[in-house]
Subunit: 244 residues, 2 copies
DNA sequence: CTCTGCAATTGAGGCTGATCAATCATCCAA
DNA sequence: TTGGATGATTGATCAGCCTCAATTGCAGAG
């Protein structure tokens, strides 16, 4: 059975962090004490001063900006094992707990001195900065050049890849955020997200029993969609054929 | 006459830099020697190592990424007075001279030591990093939530604001880049860019005699469009009424 | 248990912007 | 001058996604 095989350790990916990542951060905090956050709780707002840097121990964080008229743009997510809050000047965007979260905070002063003295930490920060920059450019491509199917496929395979990197099954993906968050992240509406999910379902790309758990049944085709799939036959229409 | 009044010093904005900005950088270079680049010349490619940091003395630089199938995304532009090339790891995107450019280079080694010793320089770098991050988030909003008219209005008022900041007329804007570059930057096609320009023209928002020079005849309405204009009456359709 | 509110799904219809194609203007080389 | 290349403009058509609207499912409060 596809489903059973895919179901290996599905819930763990967003609730526990990879153990080998814990030590280098906790050296500089108060014994690794964590702050608990409820779902939908604001962590900081755009314009707030940077008081501390946090290590995400469990849960998912959502970053977003809001226009005057209420239109919202989700600029990214952070998952267990990510550091959040470092940067220059005041915060540029809001941060909110998507689900119940545990954050391990470090004061800005500690962070500054730790960066200077601890190579593990500074390497980690550099690597993550670089990854974030790279993914933000990639995100621009997603938003400007991809269809709804390609965008959602890109999103799902991204989560799948993360699972694989952490040693979990790449075929069962947890969706911790709501449809609104995905929509505002991918530049679409919740209706289009929902419709695209059902399109994927009806064509055997994914299985879904509840909106938060997706079983990827055909990772190869999904990944092809996410890539644009035009390297295969040189035609954009191929992308649509794969989804349809 | 609108046109004559608006035509004050139009060509200067992209060919000369503001004089007060020159000194703190040249301290650390070889006597301020400049490298000349022809229009469309590649400065560096994605994946190249960072050999040097450059100060843009004149001309315009375009940053972009290309997908396997040739689809291109312009992630931003740099103008005289901007520094380009600093960051972590290898270059994340291609850089190309939009028009004939003069760049003043500084070796990476010089840059690293200069940052540590020269407050003027490090302040400048911090300020520009912060500005770039902020504008990249704003760009996400433009791409996900704005119509073609709003996007182009946003682009034009951005150039206009830059002119004002440098002491030039905000009503006459030079467009140094081609329509393709604007299209790939705003996530639209050249046809839509062209059509939107003519819509703006026919409704008296701008005047244009050659594709590279735009006279803004109604900056207020253009700025309202760029903001989304929905703070006025709370309705998205207002944006379209302003353009149409 | 019902009622309420929130989130997700599904349907119908319309509009924006892409696609395909033709034309025009400018520049440069032969 | 002519010819070709490049870039910009304009037109006609259509598909993809948004908008508006109704429905379902679920969870918590009373």
């Amino acid at each position: 059975m596809h489903i059973l095989e895919a179901n290996t350790r599905p819930m763990i990916a967003f609730t526990k962090h990879h153990p080998s990542r814990t030590d280098f951060f906790s050296r500089h905090t108060s014994n690794g004490a964590c702050r608990k956050l409820a779902a939908r709780q604001l962590i900081w707002a755009e314009g707030d001063l940077r008081n501390e840097v946090c290590f995400v121990r469990s849960g998912t964080v959502c970053f977003y900006k809001v226009l005057m008229d209420g239109r919202r743009v989700v600029t990214g997510f952070a998952y267990p094992g990510d550091m959040i809050g470092f940067g220059i000047g005041p915060h540029q965007r809001n941060a909110e707990a998507v689900q119940c979260c545990k954050l391990e905070p470090m004061t800005m002063a500690n962070f500054q001195s730790a960066i200077a003295s601890d190579n593990d930490l500074s390497d980690f920060v550099q690597a993550q900065s670089s990854r974030e920059l790279c993914s933000s450019y990639e995100h621009l491509m997603v938003l400007t050049k991809m269809t709804a199917s390609e965008r959602l496929a890109h999103f799902l395979t991204g989560l799948s890849t993360r699972n694989r990197r952490l040693g979990y099954s790449p075929n069962s993906v947890l969706i911790p955020m709501r449809r609104v968050d995905i929509a505002d992240y991918l530049g679409l509406t919740i209706e289009t997200i929902s419709r695209t999910f059902t399109t994927f379902k009806t064509h055997g790309l994914i299985g879904m029993e509840d909106p938060c758990v997706v079983f990827i049944l055909n990772l190869e085709r999904l990944a092809a969609l996410a890539r644009g799939a035009c390297d295969e036959e040189g035609s954009v229409s191929v992308c649509r054929k794969i989804a349809a």
